[in-house]
């Protein structure tokens, strides 16, 4: 990991970045987000298979936003989130030095978002077989069985909002579920409140979810949230030909329309 540390030290030393976001070893076998030049020692920097957290989530945290020049060592999902955040006008590319490490352990520094776009398109991993299998088995269920499946899963949700907090695309300053005038979503973590919360969140991420799997990874109750987003991602790709975080400048399906849309209501 010496070359990662050397590289970060260099960027800090020559004033290219005020803070560099990367990974260090965290609890158990997980990596932890690190904030070099502020709170973590560069020598501890790592980048390996344990670095699954989507670091783009920190780009809209106001403690981080306040730095003028930010470096980030991004894994694949983080890169996709960066593209999508740029498409949604949430980040200004000039502020960031974006790096990753390719399969041959070489550090890549992206000159601009167009290079990030080419990289994510060229390196897109195949969808996880287990996920596809589970989605298939869900589509084969009839409505009652599916209702039963989700009622059981969602009943255990405690509304800790870890899924929302870890999601790079949940950046709203006031989430719909926190809005109480009017109160759209039942606050208690009971059957109805949980359904409302998860249907709402899934709809808000339809066509925006970058498939990093963070919501499912962080859910302390082991709820397979990824299935909701994966299903919607497939539907959006099939019906609108779009996949979030893959194409720079793309509109996202649920916030744009075409005047020649085949649906009449839109005109």
């Amino acid at each position: 990991m010496d070359n990662i540390a050397k590289n970060i030290n260099q960027l800090i030393a020559d004033g290219s970045v005020d803070i560099f976001i990367g990974y260090v070893k965290g609890n158990d076998n997980r990596a932890k987000a690190a904030f070099f030049n502020i709170s973590d020692k560069v020598d501890n920097a790592i980048f390996d298979a344990s670095c699954t957290q989507n670091l783009a989530v920190y780009l809209h945290k106001h403690e981080i936003k306040s730095f003028a020049k930010i470096g980030i060592f991004a894994n694949y999902s983080t890169l996709r989130a960066i593209i999508q955040l740029a498409n949604e006008n949430q980040i200004k590319a000039e502020k960031y030095i974006i790096q990753t490490m390719n399969k041959d352990s070489q550090i890549i520094t992206f000159a601009n978002l167009t290079e990030v776009e080419s990289y994510v398109q060229a390196n897109r991993p195949a969808p996880a077989a287990a996920m596809i299998q589970k989605l298939d088995s869900l589509s084969k269920m009839d409505r009652d069985e599916r209702w039963e499946f989700w009622s059981k899963e969602l009943a255990s949700c405690i509304k800790c909002y870890a899924c929302r907090s870890a999601c790079p695309m949940c950046y709203c300053s006031q989430c719909t579920t926190d809005c109480n005038q009017p109160q759209w979503i039942g606050v208690p973590a009971h059957g109805q409140g949980n359904f409302e919360w998860h249907i709402m969140r899934a709809m808000h991420l339809a066509g925006r979810c970058v498939a990093c799997g963070e919501c499912q990874r962080v859910c302390p109750m082991e709820i397979p949230l990824g299935l909701l987003n994966a299903r919607l991602n497939i539907d959006i790709a099939t019906n609108f030909g779009e996949t979030a975080g893959m194409t720079l400048g793309a509109d996202y399906a649920l916030s744009s329309y075409k005047v020649d849309d085949k649906e009449h209501f839109i005109r």
Binding site: A33, E63, I158, C160, A162, A166, P188, A189, G193, E222
Partner: protein, 337 residues
Amino acid sequence: MNELKTINKDKLHQLFDKLIADGNDVIAPKRKSEKVFFGKIISSSDICYDYIQTAFSAKSSVFPKCEELFSYEKNDNEIKHLDPVFSDKTTIVFGSRPCDSASFDYLKVFFLKENPDFHFAKRYDSTLLISMTCNKSDEHCFCTSVGISPSDTKGSDVSLTDLENGEFLAEIISDKGKKFVADYSSFFENKGDISQKSNKNAKVDIKFDLDKLKTKIKGSFDWDTWDKQSLACLGCGACAFACPTCTCFDIQDEASPKSGSRIRIWDTCALSLFTLHASGHNPRENQAGRWRNRVLHKFEYTDTKFDMVSCVGCGRCIKTCPASMNIINQVISIMEA
């Protein structure tokens, strides 16, 4: 000296099955997929023994994530007020670890000391804690740093130790426990040797000196360690909801023109909404302040108010945190500052 008995695994399971058949709730460790959670079992065969600690504490048996405080119905001009109905049966919580059981001593103080909480009292009075001492621990356990140990019986009604030969040593701790064991005496055997216990129980190293921490933390409010340690914190409720001694709640009214109910739900200082004023001003404006509040609450505020440090060293917040935050590292950074 506590009264000692033994019970073998078959008998213990027969006892649970009888309790269930008699209409009592038995809450025990159950595996979901990777993790083990406390949950209501319908048969003793649901119990999972392969856990160092359940992912969440047993607090939900006395302080559920969501509970109705009262409800009402309105007909013409008459309003009927309805209290929730509590079962007259016992809820048996089986398999709580010493840290978890000790947390019940804190929960009792929090909910019952100043303004006794009706709903908590109802649930607590009908709950029996059959705990299990720890033969294994992991790197995140720090009970011994906060005055608890893997052999502790604090807070338990009956404390079992797995002798790993198909038998459990049973220490009968409280009056509730004595009555329970007397009622079901045929399941237990009148023998037992306390010296067998320490051979089995795990050894957990002390990670920090609690008295020193209590002194040091008092002046730490303005230190930059909070800012540095909390940058990774995402501001969710996972740590507090998993924590056996986090007791904050919110009250929500759910009403239609004809009826409604008032519901108590878990809440936490880690969420920015927790301190947000109606004006839009938030006195705890960043995550560092929220993270600090949770840690100070455990080690300073409850110590001042109740003379009790309220962290029981279970390490659940560490294991549950999606961002790998670590309360031990925070404590150590205060000690070293």
